[in-house]
Symmetry: D2
Subunit: 485 residues, 4 copies
């Protein structure tokens, strides 16, 4: 999971991008980068760590120009490498280009193999470099045509922003798996912003225009904003997990307000999994909106029973021996007065391995609870994500091999209830506001509705195993094996 | 404001102290330090910044021994200096001693002047160094008697821990202004922990024993825990602001659970300041418990309308020019769906200068609210604190010179309501649980009750101007003027 | 100017490379890098600064494998960029390859333009990336054939080392402009070392085998050392400036001991530019050997009149205002007792802009010298180097526009004498030892002798303007304009 | 060993001190510090490492004022602690004072014990803190009288500078063991500089005035320079080792030019230890002047046979296993052409443990020498220094337990010769220039001559064991045992 951001046409493009990346920091803390263009030349700075660590005044001063793109990258299992930080920026036959990308290509190894056969060299393991190579070998005349050409060859999920000396481009895959939206700065008519989530817009005094549509390429240039849809979108497959966990609650993605959706999850969860209790608490912070919905629906009192530490986020030098593995206790601590002698419902957004839930249940019981009922505001997570969320393998997902009863036993809760798949889908759809046509129109719009066949517009592969795009492994699988140490 | 911590008798004393300081990080982010004792010799490490920045594995390995004390220090107006970091550790006639101190002495400049006249030199501006000098010039035979002697000379607020080669001492001033409590590790009978707040106890698998009583000195040594009360306590003057803002909601200080007290503030606030509204939201995170109490009492729906960024806490390189002064927007962002066309009540714990409240009101209004009613879960803050909380001068406290109406106008809310002084006191007292006598007894216990004359047991000087201890300025006032740069 | 290094077949390849780069540190202090191979995979670490700053134990531990190459890079006018640090390491169709390169290609922009036209992308401004691309597009079957193919297309000066999963290759351009030599570790029969200068050999307990010959590619693999000469060398054009200034005095390059050559320069200089004087001093450290030769030949007493600070080498935060521009005084300070009332000869290796010489002359005169005679152990430097030495432009070279008399006036010396061009050439040739045929033979050997036409085997372009290879600018000149900030 | 520096009356006092400390960097690389005074207040910055690492522009800007003192500290066996960095700066009864100190007190533990008994606390292990305490308990009225009072109580070697809000003081112990001298800046009449060595004077455009005399206190204030000699000096005991090794060759200390003295050592050494040889080389850099004197006297050719790396000086991450212990080879490398088949004399300034000499002899022999004769330009070092030079214990000094023959055997040289004690003394005295009375007079001057009894004016304890001042251990010896980690 990553976050992308772009500013077009503002004299403080790099500074606004810095703020924007900060607001998207929840989408990735491993590395951050900004590329700017002053109309003639690109400048780039990338580094490991959070935005406030990577950028110092010295670098900000040198990131000149009115156009900028930025990226925050999530820490993935493959190890954290500066080499994989984004944006990537290169010289090629048509000048310079920088790209920042959120998502995962499913045929990148295959493309990589083909490109290498034709003489390409690879300096990173990132999918982004594959896209850059495809751009470079495209015979098309304009950057937008080259990008369309390149994107016609890749499969998978992507929301990306490109920067050349004079233009900015934003593109979203044909399923619209990862979010991407457009805003306009209040300070000027031709000043645009592109971001993974609109949460950043109020911070930089911009207003939401519309989402980039699945399959669309948006071109920002001297001539204003232009929309291309090289290939019509097939069927919307927006990632439903963005609404459950990943996106910020103050974001509205493809017309669905995340906070509302989460409250709806909680309401449905309360209806589907009734239990007598004295108090309902959230696993903060992502579980809070669902918990409030749960409390409203059930009439059970909402309390702040688990306090989250503000001072977590960077690497914690874990003490040795006997005090190891305190993990969740460093992040959460219980308010005993809330739990003492109470029947407690605790709401979380999902269960991955089960180990964290088990610790939370134990923590609440140790704090004096008589009963601990765990409620999950999504269905059991059974399948890994291939489209940009860093989930563990199937083996590690407890729900892929355990029944709800077995999970309940493992996490030692008195009862365990998940949200049903149907309620999850209906809850998101119920939160969708009618999306007014924007004055910045696109050729194709995919509605947030079920189609005539009753098919919903979401990718729910992590729950259902129904992957909209298959993963292609090349004949002889090979990844970037070069190590930066 | 600072936090102190101590571990006696555990093989991983430094590691537990590291965890403890991390849990007390909300009490100070400027500097952190740990001193350990291996029975023969003290070791010390201090540094600027948060606990996870100050301590690396290299230092932790060298902080050997079974006894340790630690300190986190709040950033004060005087500038952030390593010189002022704590613990202070020295050689003196009786060996070595380290001290960590939370609070403010009111006669430290006077004592300093007297000590300098007798030939003492000062290498920092901290009150702690004054206490160390008083210890050093005391003619008493044991460390505890020297500490008692030293503390008999100082006036003001303090909760402190001392470490010698073989003992640990914990002491609290005669009014009990700053909190301090004792726990016992579950891993061993003679393993004790001392901390500003008990929130840390569950983290390190310790159980709460009791609070250190006002005026008490607790001595931890080979012989176990021993209590001394050199001078009987006068009258309890626990800091009421700890319950309002400073302490963690999961802490129970002197028998009062902070979360409960805050909910009570909110309930009383709802009763005292009724207004029609569609939704009530908190200024996170400190305002949340009062807001939940407010919502319960008023029946108005509680929502998460302001989302707090997790990624703030360290110095943020503020962008220049047009995007300056985004302050509160970096920390908080609104969920427009919660506010749109709504009558909103927003609950905060206090108003200091009024500028932040003004920005929050504007943010909520910009997000679509029809009305914004501001409710404060404490009375107007009119006087600076002399006992260890870093408040601005009287001039800067808006309530010292403005009526509630004038403040309402300044912050641009539709209405403004504060909690009454009486309700604040009653709310805390109502949250006090009967404190069972501990098996680790103290000579004197000051109850959390009003006395026969109806006087409450709190320092409320920041609201009332009734300072329990006067500030003594020396004939010729002089502070440490030496600058570390 | 840069330094390259390689170890083949030693269990501590990275550690030996670390030592080797340290010994080559005089050839570049801007950045350093090491790539290792464990038989299956390459690992890489690069960073800005000196070797001891770039490599920490953490990195060294992860640079595993028995084969390694390394690079130190000189600070060039173009700015110091991590992006340009070497080695470069990539994935390509045939696996992985890393390259470290010393020298400058004269047709790199042309090649770059051609490669970009065919779809190549460039992520740095370095010539090395051009070579990697040429390797990648070569249709040849083996790494050595692909390297031969690539090198047949490049023009200019290069001494380079390549590393694949299983092989190491070392190559030198057909003129032999930059040095490169081979050694054998005493610890094992199939353990080889390749380095820009042999000075490192004694440090790592290796013995000198022979120089890599102009046009030769040396292949190190399981089968031992194999030599290829894809195209016969044309005419030796070894860089004469290596002997004058750049190489370490303890190195022997292509059979010529640098120390001996420098002493010969000094002897000839004394013969050619006689002057009465009391004492002769060197500009340390590069001028010392020539000064000793000068003193021996002239019979004038040698003294250490200028003391060099050991503590220079990293960026010095220059004080402001009145004490700016102390430049040379920070590096050198005079021994007044050597100069007082004396007629002084001071010997330096070259004059670039003349400003440093002027400061040195003033410093000696201020220290009490009656006369200051400046002697330069090389001819006037009139032309920039295109083959890897970072010289200023022609405009900045004082000798390109000033007569010796005018330079003498500018530097304020009482007299100024340069070494004649003929004596320079003869001095180097006189220092050449007969190069015994090595048991590790090469197909072609270019002797260090004048040919039948009396042409000497050196590149002397910086003195004569006779460039052996012309610089090719592409139809539309373009450099890497991407900025890392 | 340390270096001290002070500037009085210059608007860029801190910047000049930065330059001065850089020039004194050879006297200590462990830590550095500067304290400045702006007439009202002192400012201080200290840090671990070399001057260019410790001071960044941010700190330099905040070190305001026209008076400044600075210190560089040598790495001692006791470990490197920021706590022990100098200057020390404190508040005391009379305002503020900062002190920087070079030397070692012999009764500091005794004084410390006495001070602690009276109630003093110690925050470092440095002698400097003892002096500050003595100042603080002095009943005298002026700073200079308090300093005189304090210094009357200490025994041992010291050259120190003090800074108050308005004055600067410089003092030297009664034996004049450590050097200290005064200069005047050319930029203003009342602008003075004080430094351990005058080498810095030309760098900052100052001229030498005179040495501070043994037992003298020099007071710099608005009234200009004033000299006090509270107690008349007893007998000059200048450290002879400064001339042999420690001081820079461009310094003149107490009228003796270091370079001249070293050449005289070499001349005498050549006369006393004749041997047939082809070439004489120095161990750079400290051995070079003596070697030149040796070559002149013996007529044997001087060559640069050992090349010193410029890139040593900071901590070197030593590689593991087989390539450990390369120590001297990293620092020095041989020029084989100088040694091959030659009879070699190598001159060094001293032998401490013998291990380095042994490696150098082996290195020269490995480089092809037929014979290696080691000559040492001082007598055998048999006793540790108690007055500020960081020598090992007696046990580790090879000459304390081995005859010259045994040492010769240990270092594997063909012959070994030391300078005789008498020649050492005569060589220094012969280099003494008559010291003209300065216009900035002192009350007492100790000449650099033998007295009527033929006693020379040097401390030669490291050679003779004749310690001018006895080391006092307190009844119960105790050092600062507090560890900074």
């Amino acid at each position: 999971m990553c976050g992308v951001f772009g500013i077009y046409g503002h004299p403080e493009a790099a500074n606004l991008t810095y703020l924007g990346l900060h607001a998207l920091q929840h989408r990735g803390q491993e590395s951050a980068g900004i590329a700017t263009s002053d109309g003639k030349q690109l400048a780039l700075h990338r580094g490991m760590g959070q935005v406030i660590d990577v950028f110092q005044p010295r670098q900000m001063e040198r990131l000149t120009g009115t156009n900028a793109i930025g990226h925050v990258r999530y820490s993935t299992a493959g190890g954290s490498l500066l080499r994989n930080a984004q944006p990537i920026a290169v010289d090629y036959a048509h000048g310079q280009i920088a790209i920042a990308h959120n998502g995962n290509l499913t045929n990148s190894l295959l493309l990589r193999e083909q490109l290498e056969k034709s003489g390409s060299i690879f300096q990173s393991g990132s999918d982004t470099e594959v896209i850059v190579h495809l751009l470079a070998v495209s015979g098309q005349r304009t950057t937008e045509d080259r990008l369309a050409d390149a994107l016609s060859k890749v499969e998978g999920a992507f929301s990306l922003v490109c920067l050349t000396e004079t233009k900015m481009l934003a593109a979203r895959d044909r399923y619209g798996i990862r979010p991407l939206c457009i805003g306009r700065l209040k300070s000027g008519d031709r000043q645009f912003v592109v971001a993974s989530e609109p949460t950043v817009f109020s911070l930089i005094e911009a207003e939401f225009v519309r989402d980039v549509e699945p399959g669309e390429i948006v071109v920002l240039s001297d001539e204003g904003l232009r929309s291309i849809t090289p290939a019509p979108p097939i069927a919307s497959k927006r990632c439903v997990f963005e609404y459950i966990y990943f996106a910020r609650p103050d974001s509205t993605l493809d017309g669905v307000n995340v906070y509302e959706a989460r409250k709806n999850f909680g309401r449905a969860l309360a209806r589907e999994n009734r239990v007598e209790a004295d108090v309902v608490v959230a696993v903060p912070d992502s579980g809070v909106p669902a918990t409030i919905g749960f409390a409203e629906e059930s009439g059970i009192r909402y309390e702040v029973g688990l306090v989250r530490s503000h001072y977590i986020g960077r690497t914690f030098i874990e003490p040795q021996q006997s005090i190891r593995h305190f993990g969740v206790r460093l992040k959460l601590s219980p308010v005993p007065e809330v739990f003492r002698d109470k029947r407690v419902i605790v709401v979380d957004d999902s269960i991955v391995r089960g180990t964290t839930s088990r610790k939370i249940v134990k923590m609440i019981r140790d704090a004096g609870a008589k009963e601990v009922h765990l409620r999950i505001s999504s269905p059991p997570t059974r399948w890994p994500c291939y489209y940009g969320i860093d989930t563990p393998t199937r083996d590690e997902l407890i729900a892929s091999s355990h029944s709800v009863e077995a999970i309940n036993e493992f996490v030692t809760s008195d009862s365990l209830g998940y949200l049903s798949h149907e309620s999850m889908i209906e809850s998101v759809l119920a939160s969708a506001s009618p999306r007014e046509p924007s004055n910045v129109s696109s050729e194709h719009r995919l509605p947030m509705l079920k189609d005539e066949q009753g098919r919903h517009p979401f990718c729910d592969a992590c729950f259902s195993g129904n992957y909209p795009i298959q993963y292609k492994t090349p004949p002889r699988s090979r990844q970037m094996r070069l190590l930066d140490v």
